[in-house]
């Protein structure tokens, strides 16, 4: 007893320090490799703490503003987020299009958490986090969404720690237990019972420290939903069969090692471990062999099969359990759970222990504990298992109709536990993988886990051998047969009627299956056969009949097959008959006509529908079933969307298209410009009119000058005569001082018209020889009038005056002469006569002499006058 108590005390003593150590171990963890995850988890805690603090102030706004402040600070720090540098001044911030609050928050939180890890740790130690503020749930949920993955992993690692601790304890305990004698069994079981409690309490402490994590964990972890009613039911069922408690004990013990673990001494353990694997298997196998049935138990298949329950006998269950144990660790967990519960039934204390597992403490931890225990104690169990199972199968089972009923009830539980527990086991394993901190424990655990397997493998080579053999045998047929085998076994063992019935039903079923096989085989044979047996030409009526006959002859025993055959025959007959009835032409026309309702995408849908119905006339799809509006609507919508989205672009860029009629509005009419500038044009015209006036005068003058120059062929005498007249004319016209030549040629005005480029020249140009002609005054006058229509009255007057004066000299001066043309001038051109004035000819000495004489006399006169003048001035 002392031995037993001692470990318990140790365990109890250990648990509280463990929990504390765990909570304290956080900072240490934080420094580890996967710290980040933990930190992320803790951020939520941190926030909640903070929030709650703010909430304690009863100031909601302050809380919100606190949040805002954090966000703002974060924004300031991260320039990438905040667009404005001077956001301090601005009461609001400007963010980019891709702004997302969640990410932002996350960052801020992570940072904050990094800064305040120590604080958080202290908080967690203080246990301040026990309460969970509903006000913060929203944020936490949001946070969880974001970090869920990370969190989960982190949580796994965290949850793992306690587990590992527990496993540690368990190991120690198991060691103790191993030393303890069998008789103290119950105490040890109590011990175990206490242990989970203490564990749960410690875990409670931990979880109270971080409720949120726990909740998230609960979300992720599958939990065993066991109501009190279930437990009671189980207990009741077990209690109801007190005799079987022992016999069922094996069952439970097979699975539930930890309760009985203490019983087993250390020494026999290894031996029994070997047996553990063997016993159920071998028993089953031998039984099955005896039955001459195919061993069709495939452990893996068994799990999946839903039929399992209906046909299940005890033996089958045992077999499976044992197999699972040896093969699958996860399945061990399941069984353990089941067994633990059952064990609880037998032991009142253990029930109490079991309840907290189901209700209070997290299912995960309990399951983990179970797994641990199992791992530790796996080795011990087999011994008992062997004995009990042998009892069950060989001795007890024949008389255990009650047992079956109990099993049915109990089997419900394992099913429940199975899935959830197996999952939990998986999670546990994941936790192992992720756990870095507790590598040592993990290793130990792993080694422990390995132990049973290795021991089973090493100590007993039999069981593994058996499985493959069975598997190979079983591989062909389905699961039902295996069940039937087990059933049949049971039935054989028991005299009960129902078992016989089952057997009969099974046999019938098997037969039916064989019959089906044959049927298929025959059918295939018929398909392949005909060319060999029968003529290639097929006569429909006779063929079907012969088939029918064949079927009937071949298998008269099987009613099911006959039915099938009949139906087949009928079907075939119908088919052929129908074809015979139909006329070919109609058939073709109907068949190969293009059906418009099957065109296009919608038609495709309809076609599929039609195919689904088959060629049933009642469900023929015609165009009425066509759903066109939906697609059209969609297309229309898309078009409108494009219109709505595009128009701005269209409005901005308008290309003038001259071919389009509505673009005429963008055209400028040609009339606009002239109308606008009419006034200007008038002005321009007037200006243009005036200008010629000026130039006309000049032209006229110039022309006169040129004429005079070229026509200076007249005698000086004549010029001198005309001088006064011309001068008068000149003054009247322009009041300009003309050159001497012009003055001199003024008298020869009539000749100027001969050189006019307009009319008068025509005659001269035609003539080879240059003729100097006098133009009739009348013609000249007329020409003048035409040329200077616009001329002012002044000019007209002048011209008139000219005209009056001109005629007289012209007629007198110009004789008609024909001269040979030389350049512009003819020989002895009269016009050149005047040039004598400008150069001194050879024969001009006379004039020179006279000039000298005259100049002398003139000089003398000048001097005289000058002297006289001087004299006059002097005396004055």
């Amino acid at each position: 007893m002392e031995n037993n108590i001692l470990p318990r005390q140790q365990a109890e003593q250990k648990t509280p320090p463990d929990s504390i150590a765990f909570s304290k171990s956080h900072p240490v963890l934080d420094s580890d490799a996967q710290k980040l995850k933990n930190i992320l988890c803790q951020t939520s805690n941190l926030e909640t703490v903070r929030k709650r603090n703010s909430m304690s102030d009863d100031d909601i706004d302050s809380e919100d503003e606190l949040r805002m402040m954090i966000a703002k600070e974060e924004n300031l720090q991260r320039t990438s987020w905040s667009y404005i540098s001077n956001s301090e001044n601005d009461p609001f911030e400007v963010v980019r299009d891709d702004f997302k609050l969640d990410v932002h928050k996350l960052h801020s939180l992570s940072r904050v958490c990094m800064n305040n890890v120590s604080r958080h740790v202290s908080d967690s130690i203080m246990g301040n986090d026990c309460e969970y503020d509903s006000g913060d749930t929203d944020e936490l949920i949001a946070m969880k969404k974001n970090i869920s993955k990370v969190k989960n992993s982190a949580e796994f690692s965290q949850t793992e720690k306690p587990i590992s601790k527990k496993s540690f304890k368990k190991k120690e305990l198991s060691d103790h237990c191993n030393k303890v004698q069998k008789r103290i069994r119950k105490k040890s079981s109590i011990n175990h019972g206490v242990k989970p409690l203490s564990d749960s309490s410690s875990s409670d402490n931990e979880e109270s420290e971080r409720d949120e994590k726990y909740k998230a964990m609960m979300k992720n972890c599958p939990r065993i939903n066991l109501t009190l009613a279930d437990l009671e039911q189980l207990a009741g069922s077990n209690m109801g069969v007190p005799e079987n408690t022992e016999s069922s004990g094996p069952q439970s013990t097979t699975s539930c090692k930890f309760d009985r673990a203490s019983k087993s001494p250390k020494a026999p353990r290894s031996i029994y471990t070997g047996k553990q694997c063997i016993c159920p298997e071998e028993i089953l196998a031998s039984l099955l062999r005896e039955e001459n049935m195919h061993g069709k138990q495939k452990p893996q298949e068994d799990k999946k099969k839903p039929k399992f329950q209906a046909f299940k006998g005890i033996g089958c269950l045992y077999g499976k359990e044992s197999m699972k144990k040896t093969l699958n660790i996860a399945s061990n967990n399941i069984i353990e759970e089941q067994s633990s519960l059952k064990h609880g039934d037998s032991n009142s204390i253990s029930i109490e222990n079991g309840l907290p597992h189901a209700n209070g403490s997290p299912s995960k931890s309990t399951s983990c504990q179970h797994t641990k225990k199992k791992n530790d104690l796996n080795n011990i169990q087999p011994q008992r298992q062997l004995t009990y199972e042998t009892q069950d199968h060989k001795v007890v089972s024949p008389s255990s109709s009650e047992k079956e009923s109990r099993n049915l009830i109990s089997s419900l539980l394992p099913l429940k536990g199975k899935t959830s527990l197996s999952l939990s086991a998986k999670i546990h394993k994941i936790g192992f993988d992720k756990d870095n901190c507790h590598g040592t424990q993990q290793r130990e655990e792993a080694s422990e886990e390995e132990e049973p397997n290795s021991s089973s493998n090493t100590s007993n080579v039999k069981p593994p051998k058996c499985y493959p053999g069975e598997d190979t045998r079983e591989s062909m047929p389905g699961f039902s047969l295996s069940l039937s085998n087990s059933l049949s076994m049971d039935a054989k063992a028991k005299p009960a009627e129902d078992n016989q019935k089952r057997l009969a039903a099974l046999e019938a079923r098997q037969k039916a299956k064989e019959a089906q096989k044959k049927l298929v085989h025959n059918a295939l044979a018929n398909l392949d056969g005909p060319p060999q047996d029968k003529p290639t030409h097929i006569i429909f009526g006779s063929d079907s009949e012969s088939e029918m006959e064949e079927a009937s002859t071949q298998e008269p025993n099987l009613p099911g097959e006959e039915l099938v055959k009949e139906s087949r025959g009928k079907a075939s007959g119908k088919l052929f008959d129908g074809e015979d009835e139909e006329s070919d032409s109609e058939d073709d026309s109907d068949r190969f006509r293009i059906k418009p309702q099957f065109e296009g995408r919608a038609g495709q849908k309809l076609m599929d529908l039609q195919l689904h119905f088959g060629s049933d006339d009642r469900f023929r799809m015609d165009s009425r079933f066509l759903e066109s509006d939906s697609e059209e609507e969609q297309e229309g919508k898309c078009l409108i969307v494009q219109k709505v989205l595009m128009p701005e672009l269209e409005m901005d860029i308008i290309h003038y298209d001259p071919t389009r009629h509505d673009h005429i509005t963008y055209e400028r009419t040609k009339d606009d410009k002239p109308k606008e500038s009419k006034a200007k044009q008038k002005k321009k015209r007037k200006e243009a009119e005036k200008l010629p006036e000026v130039s006309k005068d000049m032209y006229y003058n110039i022309a006169t000058d040129l004429k005079e120059i070229f026509q200076a062929t007249k005698d000086t005498i004549e010029k001198e005569k005309d001088k006064p007249g011309h001068k008068a004319c000149g003054r009247e016209k322009n009041e300009e001082v003309h050159s001497v030549v012009a003055l001199m040629s003024g008298a020869e005005q009539p000749t100027e018209f001969m050189f006019s480029f307009f009319d008068s020249d025509s005659k001269n140009v035609k003539e080879e020889t240059y003729k100097v002609e006098t133009v009739k005054p009348g013609k000249i006058v007329w020409q003048e009038d035409r040329r200077f229509q616009d001329s002012s009255s002044e000019e007209e007057d002048v011209t008139e005056e000219k005209d009056h004066k001109k005629p007289s000299p012209e007629e007198a001066s110009f004789p008609e002469k024909e001269t040979t043309r030389f350049f512009f001038f003819s020989k002895n051109d009269e016009r050149l006569h005047g040039s004598d004035l400008f150069w001194r000819g050879v024969g001009s000495n006379i004039s020179k002499n006279s000039w000298e004489a005259r100049t002398n006399s003139l000089l003398m006169d000048c001097r005289k006058k000058h002297k006289e003048a001087k004299r006059r001035v002097k005396p004055k």
Binding site: R67, M68, A71, E93, K100, K637, I640, V641
Partner: protein, 180 residues
Amino acid sequence: MCPLTEEETRVMFEKITKYIWENLQLLVDRPIGTYYFRLHNDRVCYVSEKMLKLAANISGDKLVSLGTCFGKFTKTHKFRLHIMALDHLAPYVKYKVWIKPGAEQSFPYGNHVLKSGLGRITENTSQYQGVVVYSMADIPLGFGVAVKSTQDCRKVDPMAIVVIHQAGFGEYIRHEETLT
């Protein structure tokens, strides 16, 4: 319950475009199933194909509403957004305005957002741009129209209206009888 005419569709899309711009395409062409707009009692309902087919079994006069009511057509054939469209439009909206907790209190009563209540705004928000109003916790509260551009928001005095209230979650209570 009938499909929208082209004109109605255009008017409605123009309205929605003010908020989500080219993301309207995503609203019309949904990767998950087909969605339709249906007109029922002058109200535009956004219905999934499946629901539409189910609703086809119910006579129009007995049918109160179906799918999500996006808004309604006024007598002058203008489209007015309802708050129910928020869930569908908020994910696609381009310009957002976050309001402070104080303004968050008054916004559901139909009050406009003053500059003092403006917590955050998307950059480059132009004047008269349709926006979705968010709380600082990033929860969409309703629709609005920015009467000041982002740059103008800096200059105006704190009591100036920045966002005009168009539809807010307060309508769920205040206009309960008209929201179907």
